[in-house]
Symmetry: C2
Subunit: 298 residues, 2 copies
């Protein structure tokens, strides 16, 4: 068919999917093409605007390196990543064998972000995972349970964090792993470790996404947060953050990752002996959070 | 606002546009974000599919060079470029001062494609613009008029074409301009020149767009066509092709550029004296087409 108007054009492109072998790929492309065409018609996209879009996307691709993923940043700042996270967790929830004794909701997920680095060291309970890292010391503690409230022994917290100035080890030239660790719960499902109190920081703004944010009149900042993947055999793993209550930008995270259930009050303490017996010669903070994992559907 | 579900997330991203300075940019981003979120929800995009999309778009950006524009190819093969062309021409038409004496429709536009090269040589009427280029000789002729049928003297045809094997000069290593020229109409609005009969050819398939087409079960070919930008002072310029009637893929152009009004019968002739007096010692073709330009709105 040779399309002679805009409606027929969309139809012609969709019909060209009839020989796709993978029905899921065809489904995704059908929806993508429909929305792409609808978007272009809705805004009556002009040729110079189309060319600007081509040049923008090209620049996003060419800004990517082995240490920087500008398309993930684009997806994050447009809320697309968070949408995928929300849908994934909703799916896991609806698949889970929720017993009548479900006492508590599973911990909410948020974006993974670009700074996960597999292979963090296994450290014992109570370790300072941010040894030598700039920032105010913080005692983190809590429990990991299932949705019935039963403690999970040996559940894994795979933790990563920027330093007290918002920089991740990966961003610093020639650096080694820092402020990362894998910690496992004890027989009562408890965890505790030391790290720093994370601070707000901007996403990278020296590339095309930075220019887009500026055009949108948006700031590029994320509120202070610490990342973790929480997992245990037989449970749905969750990739999430804890956010520092009252951190700047807590109401306007540049990547839309904040969820009210993930905001934690950091309590301030004078120098002295902390809850785990560690002696602090400077003031420090403590943050308490209980994680909860959904049973994996069988 | 901290979104707690998918609807609120879309709303939160849209609200972040409230400080955009350029209302047109805000309008485009609002529509884009709305459709992007709707697409992700509609197909319930899974994390691994999202990651595949990120990697695909990154590869498209990184395939672009100064001689190759993979994002334009992506836009072309998804029908997005042709949609922009159709909308642009519809806009020009509605703006045009259409007199009651409009006798004929303006020539329809199609995609520009990636092979336009500004600065083609000015050649006289009757020139062979494809001197030394592989392919079967073809005599092109016709008129350029306004929509009232009045001939336009000195109207410009800026022509480019692949060779008889579907290769453009730009694609051949270290090559110079070939099969390109700027030709102007005479006092009666007539034009005539020699070139070759273009053949079908595939778009580049060794990159991510090629893999996408394969996944969609689509062939990558374009029917034989010759490109031109037609312009005259005071008239809306048009970027278009002439397509060879009965060329392979005429009903399934990989970039959706074919329009019935642009299909031309190529008439075959034995060796001998052509209409312009040129002696041909091989068989040749002739193609006749009258272009028509819309008056520019004042």
């Amino acid at each position: 068919m040779t399309p002679s108007n805009e409606n027929e054009l969309t139809q012609a492109v969709l019909e060209r999917l009839s020989s796709a072998k993978d029905p899921r790929f065809a489904q995704i492309m059908q929806s993508l093409i429909t929305h792409l065409h609808a978007f272009i018609r809705e805004v009556d996209l002009q040729p110079d605007e189309w060319m600007n879009s081509i040049e923008f996307l090209t620049a996003v691709g060419q800004t990517c390196t082995d240490k920087r993923q500008e398309f993930i940043l684009l997806s994050d700042t447009l809320g697309a990543s968070m949408m995928v996270v929300m849908l994934d967790q909703a799916r896991a929830k609806s698949r889970a064998a929720l017993g009548a004794n479900a006492a508590t909701e599973a911990t909410e997920a948020t974006v993974q972000g670009p700074y996960y680095w597999a292979g963090a060291p296994d450290l014992p309970l109570g370790a300072n995972i941010a040894e030598g890292v700039l920032g105010e010391p913080t005692f983190y503690s809590g429990r990991i349970t299932d949705t019935a409230g039963q403690p999970l022994q040996g559940a894994l917290l795979d933790i990563w964090s920027g330093d007290g100035e918002g920089n991740y080890d990966m961003q610093l030239e020639g650096s080694e792993m820092a402020a990362r660790a894998r910690i496992r719960t004890d027989a009562q499902g408890r965890y505790w470790y030391w790290s720093i109190r994370p601070t707000a920081y901007p996403v990278p703004v020296d590339g095309p996404v930075g220019r887009m944010l500026e055009g949108m009149g948006r700031h590029p900042n994320r509120p202070g947060h610490i990342h973790m993947m929480v997992s245990a055999p037989g449970y749905v793993p969750v990739t999430t953050h804890l956010f520092v209550a009252n951190s700047p930008y807590i109401d306007s995270d540049a990547v839309f990752g904040v969820r009210p259930s993930l905001i934690v009050e950091y309590e301030s303490h004078p120098a002295g002996t902390a809850a785990d017996g560690r002696m602090l010669d400077v003031p420090y903070w403590s943050a308490h959070y209980d994680f909860c994992l959904e049973t994996q559907a069988t």
